[in-house]
């Protein structure tokens, strides 16, 4: 029997386990369709705020010599209302709507905007490392995480994912709090706070000075987070961080992820990366005689 690429992250059912990560190519429905046709199992939108945000001035993205990217796009986005209008016609593409905000009410208001949209899940960005008052500043505050997750869960029947990352507290506690407050799944991880300085110009290169490191450099860190979360909690996990090959994908499944997201690999290998990874996973499954993804999830935890 041909193995299946279908996977489920709790209530979320996907045809293919590789998604587009938030913030990558994520502002237009036309592009979402294209990515879906290229093999992405779902697309996560840019993190949306109530109002449109311009984000930081350029430079906002650059690669790191030796691998990876640093960005401080600053969560630029057209705002939830505009965005909801844009995706309203969508029927085909599984869209996961990523949201940022500072207080529970922000999230409640935004979710209302999507009443008439087909939303596969919401992903709460509790982990952007370079924008004040949202992202990690929320994720590092357990009381706020509890309030936000509870409020969001009360506002919608759509599954809700919390996206965590390395901040100034123990991200495992954020995961625990989110679970206690009813979260349906966890995405781990976001970018890692970092900086690039130019020796010649003698300045930080990003206009915001600090940015988030993504791509291959953070893969071993992301992989350990998935392993740590799945060792400590019983919650569906979406792995994210530095994934660029089918082998990376398999490693995240083995560590405990039921699905994965990628972003930076698109900068390196363009959007054919979805198809390449799907193909590689299928070949691996055939060779190892698996019929579905779930059989692999967490295998690396056996002693």
């Amino acid at each position: 029997m041909e193995p299946s690429l279908e996977t489920s992250i709790g209530q979320i059912q996907l045809d293919r386990p590789v998604m587009l990560a938030s913030g990558i190519l994520g502002i237009s429905l036309d592009v979402f369709k294209r990515l879906y046709l290229s093999g992405a199992g779902a697309v996560v939108t840019k993190s949306l705020s109530i109002e449109p945000w311009e984000g930081y001035p350029n430079p906002t993205i650059l690669s790191v010599k030796g691998g990876g990217w640093i960005n401080a796009v600053g969560l630029s986005n057209p705002g939830a209302p505009n965005f909801a209008k844009m995706i309203e016609p969508n029927k085909d593409v599984p869209i996961i709507v990523s949201l940022v905000g500072s207080i529970p009410e922000d999230f409640e208001m935004m979710i209302k905007q999507f009443e008439h949209c087909q939303v596969t899940a919401y992903e709460l960005n509790l982990s952007c490392p370079h924008v004040a008052k949202v992202g990690l500043e929320v994720g590092d505050d357990p009381e706020l995480v509890k309030k936000i997750v509870t409020a969001v869960k009360n506002s919608t029947n759509v599954p809700v994912i919390a996206k965590v990352g390395l901040g100034t507290s123990n991200y495992l506690n954020t995961v625990g709090t989110a679970i206690d407050s009813g979260i349906d799944a966890i995405t781990a991880i976001n970018t890692v706070r970092a900086m690039a300085i130019d020796a010649e110009i003698q300045r930080p290169i990003l206009s915001n000075r600090y940015g988030g490191l993504s791509g291959t450099p953070i893969k071993p860190i992301a992989l350990r987070c998935v392993y740590e979360i799945s060792s400590k909690y019983d919650i569906p996990i979406i792995g994210c961080g530095g994934i660029s090959t089918w082998e990376d994908a398999i490693e995240f499944f083995l560590a405990g992820a039921s699905a994965i997201q990628l972003g930076s690999a698109i900068g390196d290998n363009w959007i054919t990366v979805f198809h390449e990874i799907n193909k590689g996973i299928l070949q691996y499954m055939k060779r190892k005689d698996y019929s579905n993804i779930q059989e692999m999830v967490g295998l690396a935890k056996r002693s």
């Binding site: 190519l25 369709k33 010599k65 960005n71 796009v73 900068g267 363009w270």
Partner: protein
């Protein structure tokens, strides 16, 4: 270590040329950029100011390249003000290039959209019949006329036509009216255009309606240049990675080309 094209390489501006009161060409040494294909662009970091996309301009000397910038807002004015001896960061080159046909060719450029046209002209063969159309609002905004002529010196058949909206120099009227006139008179084997989107839109329409091969190089808000950030999307296309050069037929199916672009927040705005 090998050069990382997506990380700024620091270069020193060696020479600054005033093209018009608001347009300058900045020349620097860089092997990689000197070999960029026509239509390719760089992300240019003006330290302490901003970073912005710039078409890669030719330089007469080998191993050198240039940018030709029109002073406009914060970023372009920052670049415009860079003095000889000062440093900027460049990454790229990014984007695809033109598909240069043979025979009777038309190049339509407006403002700094002439930059890729100039690089493309260096690839034209002496036996091609070349017409260059330069559009501008008024006389003192015209530049690259002499450059275009000198690049075509060796060509038997070539014309460099300037049109100004106010008629203060060359033909009077919109450059797209000249395009329409030319295309209705003679068959062209290829039309290439870069400049204000309305100009490109009309040029593409004129050519498409006559089944003439046409390509346009699009400008959109750009942050990454590599197809990560999404800010440059035009319908299903990413201008930075799928383009900037697109075929006219492809563009005719794009609902945003000629009508919308996205602002810094990613919201669609009418032209």
């Amino acid at each position: 270590m090998q050069r990382d094209h997506n990380h700024p390489t620091i270069v020193t501006i060696e020479k600054v040329i005033d093209e018009t009161p608001t347009v300058r060409t900045l020349i620097f040494s860089d092997e990689v950029m000197s070999e960029a294909l026509p239509g390719q662009f760089a992300m240019v970091w003006i330290p302490g100011v901003n970073e912005l996309p710039m078409s890669i301009m030719i330089s007469k000397e080998p191993g050198k390249a240039a940018f030709t910038v029109r002073k406009h807002g914060l970023a372009s004015t920052g670049l415009f003000n860079v003095k000889e001896g000062e440093q900027i960061g460049i990454r790229g080159p990014y984007g695809n290039s033109f598909d240069l046909k043979e025979g009777k060719l038309l190049f339509v450029g407006g403002g700094t959209g002439l930059v890729p046209m100039m690089r493309l002209l260096t690839f034209v063969r002496p036996r091609d019949d070349v017409t260059v159309l330069i559009g501008a609002k008024t006389k003192n905004e015209v530049f690259f006329e002499d450059l275009a002529k000198s690049l075509l010196e060796e060509h038997h058949h070539h014309h460099v036509i300037v049109s100004t909206d106010d008629g203060s120099y060359g033909e009077k009227g919109f450059v797209t009216d000249v395009v329409e006139k030319l295309l209705s008179k003679t068959h062209f084997d290829g039309v290439y255009t870069c400049g204000p989107e309305i100009m490109m839109y009309k040029t593409v329409q004129s050519a498409n309606s006559r089944h003439i091969f046409v390509q346009a190089s699009l400008e959109r808000m750009m942050k990454c240049g590599v197809g990560i950030c999404g800010s440059c999307c035009v319908g299903t296309d990413l201008a930075c990675r799928d383009g900037t050069v697109f075929d006219g037929l492809h563009l005719s199916k794009n609902k945003e080309f000629g009508y919308f672009h996205r602002n810094k927040a990613g919201i669609l705005e009418h032209y």
